[in-house]
Subunit: 393 residues, 2 copies
């Protein structure tokens, strides 16, 4: 068979998180950005599901609105967006199949082939993979400990007036774990309005802060509506439901609704009802506090273990939230080759860093996730990684 | 705000099924292709959900494979595909958010801007809406009582060697309700291999046959792998779960998996588990038999009412399955204008037919769905529609 696929398929690649190396049951994996399953609130969900199906199974299992059931959209507008410092309404919320779908639709809505997307460098590999279908080019902006550098961003906006959107993960960025300062958030909203360019604010980790308070969303500084905020239940509730959302001004939001409708009509009605029932009956913020306490412990243990086991020449970020630590190794170490050795010999896994960058090179980085491994596993896994790395230092 | 959207957004339109006219609670609506909610197997689903969550909530609410959970893929390969006459295996199945997502991804995978899609004329409006994002042109093939005309298709294949795919709904087609004969199915599979062009066989209604037996899928005649079959639980089980599937050869299927992963990672894990648990414990075919009996009664009543109430000049299809009857009205009647009058004055709804065609014109068609209205409502609704139409005949 000589099959002729569309041009856009050429750039699409699978995620390295699904590497077959990770199938080894003896492996301690710091690869996937998965939440801890023990934290899912099953005891509260079981009676909720029974009640929903007994009360009105005909509606719970039927088609429903593309935007999502009105209850859940209101609850998101009132609760989740308020937590992020954004005062909004249900008619500015549409549901998506996780934050991932919001990312994909953003490129679909704004990007013609060849158009520039501005993003942090490095940034989320799953975003590149979604963007690639729309054949963009990238301009990457460096990060320091306060997040995306605003002077570099402004230079890029001047140099690329044709850029179509800015993609950012301001909270505990993937892969670096870095948080953007409030001052830069304000500046980013200003620059978007000044240069008339949409900002896609991807915010799956915003509620998972372990030191100090939650940062107000970039969207909370947005006066003209150029910021499009993507939220998700995946990291704070249950990822299996595939429920995320977009918050944007109506004239932009209608394009997301149109895309969602033509792509897959809607999210799961039952899962939307379960999420709404849970949020009405229980306090999601109390649940998130419990979740934070567990991840804070793991983050602390991970940082201790880096100090304890890794060669002192390894540079690393110290995240104040989220799931990730980002390691810069000696320049001559290739993260991909190291991964093969680590998985096969040391039985420890992570994600190689090269794919997170807008361009080639940077192979001497790796990402470690501490969200899905308990503290004992962190200790043992980091001990193994340390032993392996010491061969190179 | 002067927002610059991508070129591809220009052709995308919302579906007419979501017309605000249908919000009137007094309206009897033959518009939506919705299944009957009373038929959803809630009594079997409630214990299934409880068991799944009690047995392993950590897995049921967690991320899972993009392809879908292995259990459900095996069950689909063994049961649903076998019913359609296709012998296949789980590694040739990937889950999608309903058949709609399979349609959208097909265009994403095969169609460059300007490429020709060959389809029945008329065809499903939701498919055009999904395709539009990839900026195709269309070549429409006429239908007769045996489905898509194969001689006309072959002419089109000769005239358009650059065509990238054939989209067809062989079973109880949307909007016409027409079924493709077995002979033409075989011929379609042959032509696909001969002209080396993928056939997207969209099959949400294949199990819903009311006279005689199920037709073997076009895919059952496919020897070289050019047929890509889309299936769905939406019409035979519960649409709210958003579970459909693609069955294709591995080298094609991997592109669908890549698209699904970058678009939204996966379907709902919980909903996949519920569907698998139901299929293991209960006989889905027994359920489908019950569903068929109800729809068969509604189809019969609808056809009786057309004879009884509608002017004799109205031409209509006599479906042997599925959800739809397709009406050709006098040429001077505009389906869109008639709909406004029908909804406001006669309190009856349907879908105007113009949008189902690949080109302009054809406004004198309407689609009636009998799936979501009981027999008494069908009687009353058709009486009202008949009264209205008699003004024009």
């Amino acid at each position: 068979m000589r099959i002729s696929f569309a041009e856009r398929m050429k750039g699409m690649k699978g995620t390295s998180v699904r590497n077959k190396l990770f199938d080894d049951p003896m492996l301690i994996s710091f690869a996937a950005g998965k939440p801890e399953g023990k934290l899912f609130p099953a005891d509260e969900l079981i009676p909720s599901v029974i009640e929903i199906l007994q009360r009105d199974y005909q509606e719970a299992l039927q088609y429903s609105d593309t935007e999502g059931i009105p209850d859940l959209r209101s609850l998101i507008a009132e609760q989740r967006m308020r937590e992020a410092g954004v005062r909004t309404t249900a008619d500015r919320i549409t549901l998506t199949s996780g934050s991932q779908e919001g990312i994909e639709m953003s490129a679909k809505i704004f990007v013609n082939p060849g158009d520039v997307i501005i993003c942090e460098n490095p940034s989320y590999v799953g975003a590149y993979s979604a963007f690639e279908a729309y054949q963009p080019s990238y301009v990457g902006i460096s990060l320091d400990e306060d997040g995306m550098k605003m002077d570099e961003l402004e230079q890029a906006l001047k140099a690329h007036p044709e850029a179509k959107m800015i993609y950012t993960i301001p909270d505990f960025q993937n892969p670096t774990g870095i948080v953007m300062s409030d001052e830069r958030r304000r500046r980013l909203a200003q620059l978007a309005a000044e240069y008339e360019i949409p900002v896609i604010e991807d915010c799956p980790y915003g509620d998972l802060y372990y030191d100090g308070d939650r940062h107000p969303a970039v969207k909370s500084f947005d006066e003209e509506g150029w910021v499009i905020m993507l939220g998700s239940f995946s990291k704070i509730f249950c990822p299996g439901f595939r429920i995320g959302w977009v918050c944007a001004e109506p004239q932009i939001l209608e394009k997301y609704i149109l895309c969602k409708q033509s792509s897959n009509l809607q999210c799961s009605t039952l899962d939307e009802k379960i999420a709404a029932e849970y949020m009405r009956k229980f306090d999601l913020n109390t649940h998130i506090e419990e979740v934070r306490a567990v991840y804070r412990g793991r983050r602390d243990r991970m940082l201790e273990c880096i100090e304890k086991y890794l060669p002192s020449g390894v540079r690393y970020t110290k995240p104040h939230g989220g799931f990730f630590v980002w390691l810069e190794l000696k320049e001559e170490i290739d993260g991909g080759e190291l991964l093969i050795e680590a998985a096969r010999e040391a039985k420890v896994g992570f994600v190689q860093g090269g794919g997170f960058f807008t361009g080639p090179g940077h192979e001497n980085y790796i990402r470690l996730s501490y969200s899905f491994v308990d503290e004992e596993q962190i200790e043992e896994g980091m001990r193994r990684l340390g032993l392996l790395l010491k061969k190179y230092y």
